[in-house]
């Protein structure tokens, strides 16, 4: 297995990973390792793991081999069934771990006990093994067995409080795409790297305990420092930074009903003149070209007026044009792309970002590639996620003691 690791061009070449995970945090962590060259064997119950059943499904075909959630998180892996009801499952698992470098496991403490798995014991049995535990709240503490979901995790962890609309009669709104789980996965990835580097020095594996709750509690940007220092809370605002006070809106709707994100920092003279020149080039700067507006205090006093003119300016042009022209003038403006826009985005095409993966019976499907580029080596292009149990049965294990 490790024969090609000296010369291989992939960071994780030669590493064997056993993944026993049933949520997107563990699946995403396994995916990152697989995309960068590790051999990842995913263990699933006889009916297949949860993401095979949640959908969405390719062609809306409700079938465990067509789940897009499964495809997304499990490409580049192999799949084997570990019957989690039968006797002997722990010894089967241990037989696999004997030759593994990394074991990813998402079971919470009570689930581990029920399964008959003691993570500390695994580290003792297999001294080079890195046991990566990724759980909702960590392996100990009063909430260790509390249940979670992406929404619940984002709520308790802190980011949700910052996201939503100016109108606070509307509840905080969950940002889309499993970002609670993904944040845990990012720390899981980094922690494995630190453990691998440590193993190079000591020859020893170890137990790594990553908590989604904690990962989120340190991913709230301004909210923590505003509490650590002035001890004030930030307040959510529509699609812009939650802050101690309400600020000017930053989303502008354009003529094609699409939006751009644009914050005009009034205190920056260079940005101000770029913006006024841009509006003036279309004859739409109105009185903002008056000398009085070169004065910051005057601008601050007339913020609402400036905002009104800005709104009209964007409303009569399409979003793509505004994005391009603003950026050409050095203004940090962003168009709010929809996922379907990204497939047509020339810049991404030029960088070859999307991988085309051929799925039998469906055809080619565009996947985001690994977002890491190295001049000296590379990862692996996306491969289709495996059929359930396609790596063959997990052999009965001999007792490993």
């Amino acid at each position: 297995m490790a024969s090609d690791s000296k010369t291989s061009t992939q960071p994780y070449a030669g590493l064997r990973v056993i993944e026993l995970s049933d949520d997107p945090a563990g699946e995403q962590a396994g995916l990152l390792l697989a995309q960068m060259g590790a051999h990842v064997l995913k263990l699933e119950p006889a009916e297949g793991c949860a993401s095979r059943h949640t959908g969405p499904f390719a062609g809306d075909k409700d079938d465990k081999e067509f789940s897009l959630a499964y495809w997304y998180y499990n490409s580049n892996k192999e799949s084997a069934v570990l019957d989690d009801t039968g006797d002997g499952k722990v010894s089967r698992l241990k037989a696999l771990l004997k030759d593994a470098d990394i074991f990813i496991v998402t079971k919470q403490p009570a689930e581990l006990e029920e399964f008959g798995l003691d993570l500390n014991e695994l580290v003792e049995l297999f001294p080079r093994l890195i046991v990566l535990s990724i759980t909702p709240f960590g392996l100990d503490g009063p909430w260790a067995d509390y249940l979670t979901s992406d929404l619940v995790g984002l709520a308790a962890g802190g980011p949700l409080h910052m996201c939503g609309y100016d109108d606070h009669s509307i509840p905080p709104i969950r940002p889309g795409g499993n970002q609670g789980f993904h944040t845990a996965a990012s720390f899981a990835h980094t922690s494995v790297l630190l453990a691998l580097l440590s193993r190079e020095q000591t020859g020893q594996g170890q137990l790594v305990d990553v908590s989604m709750h904690e990962a989120l509690a340190v991913t709230v940007e301004l909210a923590n420092p505003y509490w650590f220092y002035p001890r004030v809370l930030v307040r959510r605002q529509t699609c812009r930074h939650a802050q101690p006070t309400m600020t000017q809106p930053a989303l502008f709707q354009c003529s094609d009903r699409r939006y751009v994100y644009f914050v005009l920092i009034l205190a920056e003279n260079k940005a101000w003149s770029s913006f006024v020149n841009w509006m003036d080039s279309k004859g739409l700067a109105a009185d903002l070209i008056d000398d009085a507006f070169n004065n910051l205090e005057h601008r601050q006093k007339h913020m609402a007026h400036i905002h009104g003119i800005t709104e009209s300016f964007f409303l009569i042009h399409d979003a793509e044009t505004m994005y391009r022209e603003g950026q050409e003038r050095g203004l940090p403006i962003g168009v709010l792309n929809a996922p379907e826009d990204l497939l047509e985005y020339e810049h991404l095409q030029a960088r070859g970002f999307f991988d085309s993966v051929d799925h039998e019976g469906v055809g080619p499907v565009q996947y985001p590639g690994a977002p890491f580029r190295f001049s000296a080596f590379s990862g692996v292009a996306r491969q289709p996620a495996p059929a359930l149990g396609s790596a063959g049965p997990v052999p009965a294990g001999e007792e490993v003691e």
Partner: protein
């Protein structure tokens, strides 16, 4: 700014000697953000001439690092930077594209000064492609990568993100990229240039909606998208954020099965509405969520967020108080037990809190040896001990305002 500082913070936390090079004339943004003890202003309203050593954001992002100042506009400054690079093994930057090139600090040049160097370039759009020079910060990356668009109430303007989530995530990916490069160099002896685009990281985090679009040609610009707090995959009902006692206080609840539903209505005392035919199956509860949410809200309004969370979790229901930073820091028993926040003294700011690590290792510890450096605090140590300047050379650079 954020991405570079957070990415190298992780390396500093775990034992790397990280030297942060700063500019005395144009202060790094986290030093300028008006987040001070005893004073609160929105960011964007920073002072014209702020005290560079008072900023809390900088303290949080640059703890455990060494700090030096170099005026890179001068040839002597650039020469000093090259000397320092020659003594290093990893170089990171997250300037606007073109700045490092202007200073002659390309990968080839660095590799000559420091053979088999790892050179990490952390940018918004990456270092190739037609838009590589576009300017960005967190919210722009979030807009362009699609993760703002997929967040909000159906048919309304996107609510997106209330933070620079992508500054954090891009930083985490950059930390991983640096560590992968080090791991690989240890094995092969070869250095590398790293190009991580925050926009591409954002797209890779979109999740399965990206495949719904590419495999099923789904449009996400119709009136039924996004779903607000509801969830189709897996199907949740109820699945939402409900009002509680107190001003702007909420609890999140997610129910994915009949068993969880039974637990929920049991915890609420089997209210009579819960026996209604329209709530008799998971599918029906999903179809009748407007009415369902009304009933749930009537119950949650009688409780504080933490009461509701505790009652529901004890009944095995997925529920979480919507916690703010005060809750996280002062009230959350789990975070307190796990010790996620810690304190260190700072010569100007005094005792301050820091964000710790959500990674708990049986064989590694975070090394918190100092709070963030004052501006240029480590010039003596770094330029004399590491780069080997004589006292005279050092004094001359001070006189000429190069450092």
């Amino acid at each position: 700014m954020g991405v570079g500082s957070i990415a190298t913070r992780l390396l500093a936390d775990y034992g790397a000697e990280v030297i942060k090079i700063e500019d005395r004339i144009k202060l790094d943004m986290p030093r300028r953000l008006p987040i001070y003890k005893g004073g609160s202003r929105a960011f964007g309203e920073e002072e014209a001439d702020p005290n560079p050593d008072l900023g809390g954001m900088h303290n949080n992002y640059s703890r455990n690092k060494l700090g030096v100042t170099i005026n890179m506009r001068t040839e002597k400054g650039r020469e000093l930077a090259r000397k320092l690079i020659a003594k290093s093994s990893v170089v990171t930057e997250n300037f606007a594209p073109g700045i490092m090139e202007k200073w002659g600090l390309t990968y080839d040049a660095l590799n000559e000064i420091c053979p088999e160097v790892i050179y990490a370039r952390m940018s918004g759009f990456g270092h190739s492609g037609p838009d590589m020079e576009y300017r960005s910060f967190g919210p722009v990356v979030q807009a362009v990568s699609g993760i703002s668009h997929i967040s909000g109430l159906p048919g309304e303007e996107p609510s997106g993100w209330g933070l620079s989530y992508m500054d954090n995530q891009a930083a985490y990916y950059n930390s991983a990229a640096l560590l992968m490069a080090i791991l690989t160099r240890n094995r092969t002896g070869k250095g590398t240039e790293i190009d991580v685009s925050a926009v591409e990281v954002g797209i890779s985090l979109l999740g399965s909606v990206m495949l719904e679009v590419s495999a099923n040609s789904r449009s996400t610009r119709l009136e039924d998208y996004p779903l607000g707090n509801r969830l189709d995959h897996p199907l949740g009902a109820p699945h939402g954020v409900y009002p509680c006692q107190g001003e702007d206080r909420w609890v999140a609840i997610a129910v994915f099965s009949d068993e969880e539903w039974e637990n929920l209505i049991g915890a609420m005392g089997h209210p009579s509405w819960s026996q209604d035919e329209s709530f008799s199956t998971h599918q029906l509860r999903s179809q009748n969520q407007d009415a369902l949410d009304q009933h749930i809200s009537e119950w949650t309004k009688q409780h504080t967020p933490h009461e509701a969370m505790t009652i529901l979790q004890r009944a095995r229901v997925r529920a979480g108080a919507v916690q703010n930073a005060q809750d996280l820091n002062e009230h959350d028993p789990q975070l307190a037990h796990r010790g996620i926040f810690f304190e260190m003294d700072h010569p100007v700011i005094g005792m301050a809190r820091f964000e710790g690590s959500p990674m708990h290792f049986s064989g590694l510890e975070q090394d918190n040896w100092r709070s963030a450096p004052l501006l240029g605090e480590d010039n003596h140590y770094v330029f004399k001990e590491i780069t080997g300047l004589s006292d005279d050379e050092f004094d001359q650079l001070v006189d000429e305002k190069v450092i």
